[in-house]
């Protein structure tokens, strides 16, 4: 069992105790929410893992290293940002795919640029942003936000090379 698994289960236990102190209802609601998310996204998760499996087997190491490898510099960080805006779906879809890219040789800077870009710049999220916030807000937030993945990726390279 990995350290991440143990730490995550400890957090789960703490939250369970905390919810239990707040009343049995919190635990019930929490586990129900967890189950409904699992049911809603179960198929997506399996599909995402199959994609990860294929990427693993096809091992596009040369391709990944050339584009977003540790020595890809600015170009890699920008390519990762661009790729990040295109990634669809929630964390359970996106993170397994990013994990495989990291295993296939993506550098730390591009990896962080990729995660950040999917988080703040995802083009699919804009379809939710536009109706609620209007095009002016969306344009301002998205355009200024383009700096964020670059900055994050570059800081990662500066700090941890």
């Amino acid at each position: 069992m990995s350290t991440s698994t143990i730490i995550l289960w400890i957090i789960t236990l703490i939250l369970l105790i905390f919810s239990w102190k707040k009343g049995a209802d919190s635990i019930k609601r929490g586990t129900q929410l967890a189950w409904s998310t699992t049911k809603k996204n179960g198929l997506l998760i399996i599909l995402a893992f199959i994609i990860a499996g294929f990427v693993n087997i096809l091992s596009p190491k040369d391709l990944v290293t050339a584009w977003i490898g540790p020595d890809s510099g600015w170009r890699g960080i920008i390519a990762a940002e661009f790729f990040g805006t295109l990634l669809p779906g929630g964390p359970y879809v996106v993170f397994p795919i990013i994990a495989v890219l990291v295993q296939a040789g993506a550098g730390l800077g591009p990896a962080i640029s990729l995660i950040t870009s999917w988080s703040t710049q995802s083009l699919l999220t804009i379809s939710f942003e536009l109706p609620f916030m209007g095009w002016r807000f969306t344009a301002i937030r998205w355009t200024i936000g383009l700096l964020v993945p670059l900055l994050a990726g570059f800081t990662a390279v500066l700090l941890w090379g």
């Binding site: 995550l8 929490g30 929410l33 998310t37 198929l43 399996i46 199959i50 499996g53 002016r136």
Partner: protein, 180 residues
């Protein structure tokens, strides 16, 4: 067919990606490589199950502990730097996807929140998010997650302040933009 695609378009998109990858695998090693790819994916999935269960439970419990009405009420009243910092905290705590936080941001916009507050809220939701953290931790590992978190920690408040300073005066136009 169209309504099916509309409802399941992310699955459909992922299926298309899988088909493309399967074609590449087939051209390189025939059916055997396709089988290997699927087997590899399922194997990683099965090894990740203990982590995934914990991640889903953590996210669900956080969701049930943090009420969104509470966050909306709490954020509608503050402005300035304090408002931006509170917005970051609210954004970091609020669980759920874009179909949850954009309606809230929209409600905050129409109830008078400033531009910096709204940008800080959305950015913190996407970079600080406590409920997304378990998945990132489980699937990407602690080393990348901790570094990613540290690096992007200052971004939500700074971006809020920057945007407020640059474009804060446009908030009335932005509000009318939504009402149209």
């Amino acid at each position: 067919m169209r309504s099916f695609l509309k409802k399941n378009w992310i699955s459909s998109l992922l299926l298309v990606v899988i088909l493309i990858l399967a074609l590449i695998a087939y051209s390189r090693g025939g059916w055997h490589l396709i089988y290997e790819g699927i087997k590899n994916g399922i194997t990683i999935f099965v090894t990740e199950i203990p982590l995934l269960v914990a991640a889903f439970l953590t996210a669900g419990l956080i969701q049930s502990l943090v009420k969104k009405e509470f966050i909306t009420r709490w954020l509608g009243q503050e402005a300035g730097i304090k408002g931006i910092l509170l917005a970051c905290l609210g954004g970091g705590l609020i669980p759920g996807g874009p179909y949850v936080y954009y309606p809230i941001a929209g409600a905050l916009l129409s109830s008078g929140a400033g531009l910096g507050v709204l940008v800080a809220f959305i950015t913190a939701k996407n970079l600080w998010s406590v409920s997304r953290l378990p998945y990132e931790f489980a699937l990407l590992g602690s080393s990348i997650t901790i570094r990613r978190y540290l690096i992007t920690f200052l971004i939500p408040p700074l971006l809020g302040i920057l945007v407020e300073w640059l474009f804060g005066g446009y908030i009335q136009k932005i509000r009318e933009n939504v009402k149209e």
